[in-house]
Subunit: 312 residues, 4 copies
Amino acid sequence: MTTIGIDIGGTKIAAGVVDETGRVLAQTRRATDALDPEAIESAVIACVAELRSKYEVSGVGVAAAGFVSPNRDGMLFAPNIAWRDYPLRERLSRGIEVPIVVENDANAAGWAEFRFGAGRDVHSMVMLTLGTGLGGAIVLDDRLLRGAFGVAAELGHMRMVPNGHYCGCGHEGCWEMYASGRALTRAARNALITDEDRAGRLRELAAADGGKTRGQHVTQAAAEGDPLSRDLVTELGRWVGAGIADLVAVLDPELFVIGGGVADTGDLVLEAARASFRAELSARGYRPEAQILLAEMGSEAGIVGAADLVRH
Amino acid sequence: MTTIGIDIGGTKIAAGVVDETGRVLAQTRRATDALDPEAIESAVIACVAELRSKYEVSGVGVAAAGFVSPNRDGMLFAPNIAWRDYPLRERLSRGIEVPIVVENDANAAGWAEFRFGAGRDVHSMVMLTLGTGLGGAIVLDDRLLRGAFGVAAELGHMRMVPNGHYCGCGHEGCWEMYASGRALTRAARNALITDEDRAGRLRELAAADGGKTRGQHVTQAAAEGDPLSRDLVTELGRWVGAGIADLVAVLDPELFVIGGGVADTGDLVLEAARASFRAELSARGYRPEAQILLAEMGSEAGIVGAADLVRH
Amino acid sequence: MTTIGIDIGGTKIAAGVVDETGRVLAQTRRATDALDPEAIESAVIACVAELRSKYEVSGVGVAAAGFVSPNRDGMLFAPNIAWRDYPLRERLSRGIEVPIVVENDANAAGWAEFRFGAGRDVHSMVMLTLGTGLGGAIVLDDRLLRGAFGVAAELGHMRMVPNGHYCGCGHEGCWEMYASGRALTRAARNALITDEDRAGRLRELAAADGGKTRGQHVTQAAAEGDPLSRDLVTELGRWVGAGIADLVAVLDPELFVIGGGVADTGDLVLEAARASFRAELSARGYRPEAQILLAEMGSEAGIVGAADLVRH
Amino acid sequence: MTTIGIDIGGTKIAAGVVDETGRVLAQTRRATDALDPEAIESAVIACVAELRSKYEVSGVGVAAAGFVSPNRDGMLFAPNIAWRDYPLRERLSRGIEVPIVVENDANAAGWAEFRFGAGRDVHSMVMLTLGTGLGGAIVLDDRLLRGAFGVAAELGHMRMVPNGHYCGCGHEGCWEMYASGRALTRAARNALITDEDRAGRLRELAAADGGKTRGQHVTQAAAEGDPLSRDLVTELGRWVGAGIADLVAVLDPELFVIGGGVADTGDLVLEAARASFRAELSARGYRPEAQILLAEMGSEAGIVGAADLVRH
């Protein structure tokens, strides 16, 4: 039976009809006004109506950034949208008759990888989405770990460095501050000061981008072969691997999947992560080693995962 | 139905008959020679025979320190006993006819707390056993997390401090080096050098103990009210809380249970752990907070947990 | 013989006639336009002319933030004023006939404390100016340490924490990021997120200040007794003491003098600094301990020190 | 005029006649019994008598590990010899009629480099002796920095890592624990556990050395080209460079000189130190950069420096 998956982002809503094999049969989009929850609901309902006019669907999965309530019916808190203890399912059900499930977007993407992507052959895995921030999803014994209060797998907020970089969450040393697009942006800014001679390409890209330094410049320049940018991505990869070693000590999963924009650097970030993971893995040699792979589902992962979670 | 639980330590084997409510109906013990696996097996078999002569039992659970194989039939590696890829279940089954399960000792203790102790009312919890080292057990959705390769919950080897204290595992900064009896011993040794004026009571206890400084001296002196020792336990408690904050970001459980010898300092370690956990918890205020409690099962936790795991 | 001392800040120029005992006999001020070096020079020359109309002076000492050239005739670089390899002495000498010396402002303040303030009885000391940033001055064997390239005592950029807080200098973990007004501002911002219940007074002060959180709010609230603010100042004091312990290992001076706006918290920051210094001091017990005192010269320290340095 | 320099080590005394150009004209040696201060004194007196029978000398400089009293007449404390507040000069003067000066051994070695070795053309430098521990010497404006209490330049005890490796001094994270022979020994031991596949050469050298792992094995294997050992020396060099960046922020010297056994790895440690120094140097580009060179005086540096210090 086909279902609909919806990915509510800060600037747009993407919706798709997904079949049981994870294939997206049709898609549609709407712009989002993050300050207007009612407009978001109308847009979601309109997307669903549009898709249901052509496909029969048995449910709707909705993914968004933020803390989802334990029973998956609403949002406790969202960083980008004006939701606080918000009964999203009940609101949407006014315009949608089929069952609705709400899920965190990183969880949805992780579930898509687990079911149809890099993790389709394993029973336990951790997904790391290296976007602007660092999102996580955990699957154990074929089940998505949701947590007692609905907010498990907030992996970006594990503390990697006591007294380390300030995080927007108010704490210091969060993993996200060392392994995300935001980390890359900051590392690039610092390199423009401390490594001026090698920062020519990053300066060019910033100049062409209104004078602003962005993490994407680093991934782009690294792909072109810029030595400084490759160093910055490698350093980020080392922090990814260090955190993976910590997660192995806790969860002992079969697989880690790395996705998000930073993962577009491919082997560069992957090799650095693998090397530092191996260097930090406790009791290596006495235990099998978890694999680290790149994500396979691309930008549709949120839609596919949300759609599939309605069935589970 | 009653079962037998067996706790194989470095110096002794403790065995007990346990009923379905977690009550120990009878116990027996034998000395262990860690270098002689065959002698250990004979002792285990003798314990079982002795107990079965008086009680009817439907299975035997065996707990020991080390890495247990994923299917719970043997030991991949033990730190204190000469076991490497050792088929313990098969060896024991030569002298024991009922079903046998092998489990890591920290997991067994954690399971006992989950079933009958501080965690009996929750569905997810993490147990931290602060003994000489730092052992962990994780229960999620009423199930013990064993890991894809059988070695989940090796919590003592999460890295808390990059380039931090050397651990016997070969790595740096492991949680165990900041939150265990070993950490306390080392902190006491340092305080004898750097805080001489306040170290009088620890010096006395060391003198009375053949000149050796031990973590137990600190917990004892802290219980007596010695200010330096109370500071050292409080500092240890802070590291416990910091690690708990990391685990909440990953697992989001309802409860943490603190056991082991260091937990005998009771409120002192508990309050410090709670305070630093609260200070480090990400997104506090937008989420319910996990509880932190002391263990309730005492030194029989290993026996009780192992016995109960045969039934699951 | 009297001399003139001039303190060139980002927003104003303060000038004074100072006698050989460090007494300020007369003062005058002008506003500064940091983007216009010529206007600054005219203002300095006008100040000198005004003061010389009433006092006979044998020289002029000029203090400013930034890197001073090794022979004290110009500025290599200033953070707040448009000076790069700037021949300040030569420019000023066009309108001032007496000898001129240029000095870093933190050095001038430290020299004033050494000659007439908290350090008047010692032969070696380190001054820490905890203002917005963290400035330093070092006096060894009765001489100001200027460094081979003129830029010694940039103490705020010692690295206290590998991979620690980002500093404007492009590096991570600089002492200044843990022990300065800037550090206090950031700590307050984080506490507003992570310690909401206790942050009432800081919220009030921010509200009354256009919604902006400032380090000064923390020092003010700490002086009023606000528990959270006192904790933040104490934590800052701990970092001050930790850095002092490092400097003792290098320089072994008799005295540390703490000045700048953060020092207005008096005993609070002082006691925390002393305690953590003592806890971190290597080989304590086998060596005399350096003293830590508050500065005595107040806001005129820059003028007095600059004036006195012309004589040395 | 020629003088005698004496280097008192834990196992032997080396003495030499040194001329004003730093040339050693004659040498002699005696074994040391570290537990017997009187025997050490007799041996020093015998060395001096032997050398004076052939050369006319105007003074004797004595170098030893430990804290030297501020006026250079005795030892406050020695780590390897039973000296506590010990009037060494007075004791030696019973058998030696010419003037005697006592100096810390790292200071003596640094002074030799400053006068006749790598630092002969500069006015300020820091010497780092990477032996078993990490010793330091500081020369500013052509003068050896002795400190207000005689114990400046204890550089090995600057804290590089909060909560870092335990040091024998009772503190955590001392530079010596990351940049010394001791650091190399420990790094090698850890690598034997965590990097087994690449540790073949170190295992061989340990096996040939009674099963003990030593820092010297790493420097030897690195010289042979062993990849793991080269990585370990490079990592040590990085910490050397990081500490140098801190010292530049404090002292701004012209030159750093690296000596001691670890410096035998030559370019390997030097290049790593230079690279990390450059990466960590604050305000690079706005200031000239200190040089980093290898020591030139070899194992006689202590003798030569002690002999020359009698003249200053």
